[in-house]
Amino acid sequence: MLTIAGRKFRSRLFGGTGKFSSPEVMKEALEASGCEMVTVALRRIDLNNPADDIMRVLDRDRYLFLPNTSGARDAAEAIRLARLARASGGGEWLKLEVTPDPRTLLPDPIETLKATEELVKEGFKVLPYMNADPILALRLQDAGAVAVMPLGSPIGTNQGVLTRFQVEIIISQAQVPVIVDAGLGAPSHVAEAMEMGADAVLVNTAIAVAGDPVRMARAFAMAVEAGRIAYEAGLGAVSKDAAASSPEDGLGFLR
């Protein structure tokens, strides 16, 4: 069973709560996914149009909330959001995101490390969203991150695990759980990440924008489970040369 910062998770699929067509669809999809941890964001209330409160439909006994710092462009903004999240009753768990460039939404490694160091001191359980950089993963782990979240591909792109080579190194070195996050657009993508030995994956967009988010959530859950079982079962070695599956002897009667 997956353990992060002393907490056990039966499901290795974590869900996002953004982009769903309604809170009800989100609730049903999260239930179908079987996930036990969900990300949420913090935003100013639009006083002219106070949107539906998503927390109304989310059962806090069922899900561990992982507030994110999305929208933060540097460490100072991320730390401010983290403190607000804690004051909102978000607890100590935090998905740290520092994305200065709105075009790529790629994380700033230096600001992410700085914010991790500060927030760990303040008692947060920090799960940093990071580029798939093996050295940075070690630095974040040394700074006290309880897990690392390397990206498969940029947020919301559904491109899958473009960072396979680096993620494999991160997994081979990490002493903390590795959660592949961002860009996982199809069940096959999460199966790939889990077969590689990722401890968990986080999926939001691919489920939320699917034609049928509830069925898609179930497909992702099955793929995560299949990928994990395959990893534990031990995949066969990859080779360049063909190796016959049927016996090569006993063909004398043909010649």
Binding site: I45, L84, G156, T205
Partner: protein
């Protein structure tokens, strides 16, 4: 007196507390986190924290996100 809530000017009676302001805006205190003049307030402080003329409030809450 005037206070600024999420960038909008609001007229509220002198001596109002944060709770009064949230009630006026029809916001559930349990779903809102309040930053007043740069300081994050705990929920327990909402009822006692008195607003000043010109106070700047940020009213934040959880929304869907990834």
């Amino acid at each position: 007196m005037k206070v600024f809530c999420n960038g909008q000017e609001q007229d509220i009676p002198s001596g109002s507390r944060v709770t009064d302001c949230l009630n006026m805006l029809c916001l559930d205190p349990l779903s809102v986190v309040v930053e007043c003049d740069g300081k994050i307030l705990t929920r327990e402080e909402y009822a006692s924290h008195e607003l000043q003329d010109g106070s700047v409030l940020e009213l934040i809450r959880f929304v869907g996100g990834g």
